[in-house]
Structure formats: C-alpha cells, structure tokens
C-alpha cells in the first residue's frame, strides 16, 4: 500500500483515499503523496486505486484536481454546504488535514502553532517556508500592536521575525511602527481606522499565493481556467467584430461573417477623376478623400449615410494624401510634389499654405498635440512647421523618398517615413536615434496602427507585412492575396480592436484579412477599377470606405443592415447613390 511500483506508467495518477489523507495529518511522508507535485511523482509512480483517474475526452484532466477546484469554487461562491457535501461524496478533500488545521489556526490567530504546522507541510523550498513564516509573524506583530501589547510585539519582532532575515527593510519599517504609533495608519488609507493589521482572511489569501498550488489551491482557479478558454475562443474568432456579442459558456464562441462589412451601402460619386486616397477622421464623423482631379472632399457621416460637406479645390496638382488634425477640426491636403494646404473642416476655408521655394511636398502629418505640421519634401528632407508657417526644424539627408507616407507616433516622438527603396526610417526626433525596418522588396506604402505600436507595410511583390515597432522592429505577420503590379495600393487596420486588415487591390476588389490568423476572410467585388485606398471607420467597426480608379468611393457595411435602409429621395444631387442589396 503506497509502495512504489515501477511498472506502472508514470502518467497514472493516484487518487487519495481518505485513509491516506489521515496519514498525511500524522506528518508522514507528505512530500511523496501530495497530489500533482510534478518532479517527485513522475519519477516514482504511486499505486493507482483503479477506477477513473482522468475526466474529459482527452484524458488530460486529473479527476482529483478537477473535483478540488470545483469544491474551491463552490466555497468561493458561498455554497459552504455544497462544498462540504462534494468533499464528502467524492472522498476527495479540498485540503489535506494538515492544511485544514493550518487554515483554522490562521483564522483563529494561533500564530505560533500555525508556524509549526507550516513546517509540517513537507515543503522543500526553504525560502517559501521563511516567507510564509514572515507573513504570519508580521500579522502577529501587527495584531499585538493593535492590542497595544507593545512589549510582546517588540519581542516578536526581535526574536522571531528578525532572525528570519527575509525582508530587512520591512523589519525596519515595522520597528518604526512601535516608535510612532500613527506612522502605520498614515501609510495605509487615511480613512482606515487605527487597526494596522489586515484581516486574517486577507492573510490567508496572501499565504495561498505564496504556497505551492498543490498545497493550497489558489483563489479563483476554476474561474481563471474558464476565462482563459473564453479569451482563446474570442481570439480565434475570425469574424469577431461586435462589442455586444456576449460570450456564453454553453457553446464555443463563434461569430458569423455577418459582422464584417461586406455590402456596398453607398456609392459616392463626386470626384471627376481617380480617387487615390481617403481617411476617416479620428472620431469617425467625417471622411476625407483626395483625387487625381486635384481636389479633396470632406464627407459627413450620418445615421443614414454620408453626405458631401465641402469640396476643397485649390491645388494645381493631383493630391497625394490628406491628414486629419488630432482634434479633427482641421485637415491637411498634400499636392504631389506641390504644396500643403491646411483647411478648416467646418467652414471649408483654406487657412494656410505651406511651401518651400524650389521644392515640392510629398507627404504631410500632424504632431499629436496639433501644434506642428510635418512634411516630407522631394529633396529627401523632412521639415517641421508651426501652424502659422514658421519653419522650426528640418532633417536633411536621406529621410524620405519622393513616394512615401509620413506618420507621427502618438507620443509625438517618432517620425516614420520610407527613406530608401527597401527601408523605413523610425526617427526619434528628441533622442535623435534612428531605427530601421529593413525589407528585401521595395516598399510602396505603410500605415500606422491606432496605438502606434504596429506598422503595416505594403511591398512591391504584393505582400503586406505587419511589423511591431516597439523597441527593435520585429516582423509579426504577412498577408497575401491582393494584386499590385503598377500602382500604390494602400491597406489599413480596422474593426473592433483593429483585429482586421483591409486593403485595396488592382483587381478592383477590397480585401479583408483577420489580423491574428492571417486568413483572408473577404474579397468584395463592386468597383470597376483598381481600388487604391481603404479606410475603416475608427468609431464604427462596421463601416469601411474604399477609393477607386473608377472615380467613386464605396461605403461598405453589414449585410443585414442594407435590407432595412429606405430608398432616399435624391433631393440634392451631389452625386450620392444609395444601394439596396446588389451592387
């Protein structure tokens, strides 16, 4: 009984009978018989009691452990009788008798006895024993102080706590409590009464965290395992795009495709030439688009759709990009190798023109506080201006190419641009440190995530690479499927928690991938020309906009919504068409 049998497979687990557990309380050979303690048990398989040791179809759940965490959960929920009944019926006690004794001693304040019991657990780690003893004795000390038994407290500190040499700075702190009684309470919350000792059940919790989980099952273990499973399900859900989808324990979480925008709800036809760029404002209330027709348009987002707010027509060259101010009140437009204009969104008025004699601007961006404008120029430099046009700084040298995007990270510290054919520069403008993303293909465009931690890079060879740009840039994922041979095709992050990647394509489809699994989940037909740019509404995970060579912008939304959209009377012919079903 309880002997070692080497022909038993090591994976067989022992079911503790109550008989064996009573032996535990005698303090005999606990080390070998504590359930689940890895090293020892694996090396010396114990006699199995027969019957089922595992539960579940995969045979990885040990029955004893399973029952114990259920019992623990029952007790946590307050179902004391049920917990006790489970222990009785299964014959599997939640805690060994020693531990039960220990717990009772703690709750009753029998400090010295509890320390003795602690040593009977059969723990091998000296440090753990000492740390646990320290906690117990610290409680003893603090409670003595609360009871104003100062001499006893001092004795405890000197003869019991200090010799442990566990946390000397804390020992000093504790000794200061003796000297100035008020010190302790000011360190804790001022509202708290003069009691310095925490509650005994709190102490028990602390001890639980310290001791190995096989000795005392951690608080909330079953809840933690269930949450882990739910999170895994959610992360694996490729179509997860709605906040209100609650997760149920009854069946695996699994969103349907219907949460991904896949239906063209609106076609916006106001540009007179190819639309090359578009971007939603940060608050998702506006969309700005720019075109080869040398104009930009600000669209307003309503419940029923988008409407044209302003047409900004003062450029003399095709526009390469636009950039929203951090508060969305202003917009920058960049003429390709021309000038940058700053516009007021509500009035549509041009507030300023930024230019440099003999040079042309190639990109534009804002500082996160909205005070400065950044721009790449066609002499490869990057400049920074105050809003009124005063040039503050200029980074010369190989900083940007003629075709490049420009982004400023959310902390205002880093400027990002394509500095060489296959290289992206991450310039820390304060620390003057340069980091690089190196690719082996020419880079055509890039896009920064909302949290500024990731960069989506479009390559010449039709691949989209996701880079983590915190610290040393690391390649995280690759996305493939769309077509690109001649043009600048842009992609973006989007959807709930930016869990999706969307891209334009030369085959006139809009492509959508699930960011985590890299699976292509949608390719949306509808445009009749190359799709140059996409933008996902940051405030509405169900709204995606695409810009195309066919001179239109399509607004994509959820399938079921389109059926309930009423056909609107075109009382202003500003080139807006509503779609109801079909493309």
């Amino acid at each position: 009984m309880g002997g070692v049998e080497d022909d038993e497979p090591a994976s067989k687990r022992m079911k503790l009978s109550s008989e064996e557990l009573r032996r535990l309380s005698n303090g005999s050979t606990i080390k070998e018989t504590v359930v689940g303690s890895s090293g020892d048990l694996m090396a010396r398989p114990l006699q199995s009691e027969g019957g089922e040791e595992v539960v579940g179809s995969k045979g990885v759940i040990k029955k004893v452990e399973f029952v114990r965490i259920i019992a623990k959960a029952l007790y946590s929920l307050g179902y004391i009788k049920s917990g006790a009944r489970l222990e009785e019926e299964s014959g599997i006690p939640l805690h060994s008798s020693v531990v039960n004794v220990f717990m009772r001693q703690i709750l009753e304040g029998n400090w010295d006895e509890s320390v003795v019991t602690l040593h009977n657990f059969g723990l091998t780690d000296e440090k753990t024993i000492k740390s646990a003893s320290f906690l117990i004795l610290e409680q003893k000390f603090l409670e003595l102080l609360d009871e104003e038994k100062v001499m006893d407290a001092l004795k405890t500190l000197r003869t019991e706590i200090a010799p442990l040499s566990v946390d000397n700075s804390r020992v000093r702190e504790l000794s200061s409590y003796i000297v100035s009684p008020s010190y302790g309470s000011s360190v804790r919350s001022p509202k708290q009464d003069t009691l310095r000792a925490r509650s005994r059940s709190k102490l028990l919790e602390e001890l639980q965290k310290l001791l190995p989980p096989t000795v005392m099952i951690p608080e909330g273990r079953l809840e933690h395992l269930v949450e882990q499973a739910l999170v895994l399900q959610r992360d694996a859900c490729m179509f997860h795009n709605s906040l209100d989808k609650e997760m149920s324990l009854y069946s695996d979480h699994h969103c349907g495709r219907d949460q991904i925008p896949s239906q063209a709800l609106q076609i916006l036809q106001a540009h007179t030439d190819e639309v090359w760029f578009l971007k939603f404002s940060h608050d998702g209330k506006y969309l700005a688009s720019s075109s080869n027709d040398q104009s930009a348009i600000i669209w307003e987002v309503h419940e029923t759709g988008l409407s044209l707010k302003h047409k900004l027509s003062s450029h003399d060259k095709p526009l390469s990009s636009v950039s929203w101010s951090p508060n969305d009140h202003q917009l920058l437009t960049c003429g390709a190798e021309e000038v940058i204009r700053r516009w007021d969104v509500s009035s549509g008025e041009c507030l300023h023109v930024y230019e440099k004699t003999g040079l042309g601007m190639v990109s534009c961006g804002w500082s996160p506080d909205g005070k400065w404008i950044f721009s790449g120029l066609n002499d490869k430099s990057i400049c920074m201006w105050e809003l009124d046009g005063k040039e503050l700084e200029c980074w010369k040298g190989q900083r940007t190419l003629k075709i490049s995007d420009l982004e400023i990270t959310g902390d205002g510290k880093h400027i990002i641009s394509i500095c060489r054919e296959t290289e992206i520069l991450l310039l820390d403008r304060e620390a003057k440190v340069e980091r690089f993303i190196e690719e082996d293909q020419p880079i055509t465009s890039f896009s920064l995530s909302r949290d500024s931690r990731f960069l989506l890079v479009n390559l010449l060879n039709q691949e989209i690479h996701l880079w983590n740009i915190e610290g040393d840039p690391k390649l995280v994922s690759k996305y493939r499927g769309h077509k690109r041979t001649r043009f600048i095709i842009r992609s973006c992050f989007g959807g709930l928690d930016e869990s999706f990647i969307a891209s334009g394509s030369e085959d006139s489809l809009v492509y959508i991938w699930h960011r985590g699994t890299r699976e292509l989940i949608e390719s949306l037909p509808g445009h009749s020309g190359a799709v140059n740019c996409v933008s996902w509404n940051p405030a509405n995970p169900h709204m995606l906009a695409s810009a195309s060579d066919d001179r239109t912008i399509r607004i994509w939304g959820l399938n079921n919504l389109s059926r309930s959209v009423k056909q609107k009377e075109p009382h202003h012919s500003n080139g807006i068409h509503y779609c109801n079903g079909g493309t």
Binding site: N292, I488, A530, D549
Partner: protein
C-alpha cells in the same frame, strides 16, 4: 490608371522611350552584345519599374531559356525580357537578369536608337563570350 509607384534611380539612367519612366542604371549594364528583334539590346543586372508577363520557354540563340516579357509600368509598352531559368549550364549567369531593347529606351543622354533599314536582324539573345 491609379497613382503610379515608381522607383527613382539616381545617376545615368535608361528610361522608357515613350513615357520616360526610369528603367535601369548605366552602371548595371552587364553586356551590350545582346540583340532582339529590333536590333541591339543590353543585359542588365537590375531593372526597375517593370511588370512581368507569363513565363515562357523560348529557344534563343544560345539555347532554351525560360523567360518573362517585361513591360514599362508607366505606359505598358514591352521593353524587353527577363531570364528566369537557363536550361544550359553555361547560360546560368543570365538568370535573374533582364534585357532591355535599345530601341525601346532612351539613353542617359536622351539618345535614341534607330533600327537601320535593310539590316538583317537575326534572332534574339546572345552571350558575351
């Protein structure tokens, strides 16, 4: 057509005759002894701003090669071909390199090349042995 992505070249450049898109650097010329249906052609180690056609097996002057035709991204006109795979060992050096027909490009000084009349232009390819 959308917003063209063009790789910029610095230095002496051969460009597309029709739309001036830069195609290759003079420094990247490997051999000037190639020929195509339009006369002279140059072998380059690197060519940019071109798109490729379908892979084809072609019997050229120096043997069987797998090539793709290359087209200028700016205007779509065919400018030459690229060697994907050479079936003969001594032609392997051509793999990954591209040929631009002299007739299809403007030289670094802007010069053009005219196919002279009456001159018999044989098949395509050559080696610079």
């Amino acid at each position: 057509m959308g917003r063209l992505f063009v790789v910029n070249l610095e230095g002496k450049v051969y460009s597309c005759k029709h739309c001036k898109t830069p195609l290759a650097l003079c420094d990247d010329v490997v051999s000037k002894s190639f020929q195509s249906r339009h006369g002279k052609a140059y072998l380059f180690s690197k060519v940019v701003n071109v798109s490729s056609g379908e892979k084809e097996d072609r019997v050229m002057m120096t043997g069987l090669h797998t090539v793709v035709d290359i087209f200028c991204v700016g205007c779509g006109s065919i400018v030459g071909w690229k060697y994907e795979f050479a079936h003969e060992k001594n032609q392997k050096y051509k793999e990954g390199k591209s040929v631009l027909e002299r007739f299809k490009v403007s030289g670094p000084d802007g010069s053009h090349y005219w196919v002279s009349h009456g001159r018999y232009v044989g098949g395509s390819d050559a080696d610079d042995v």
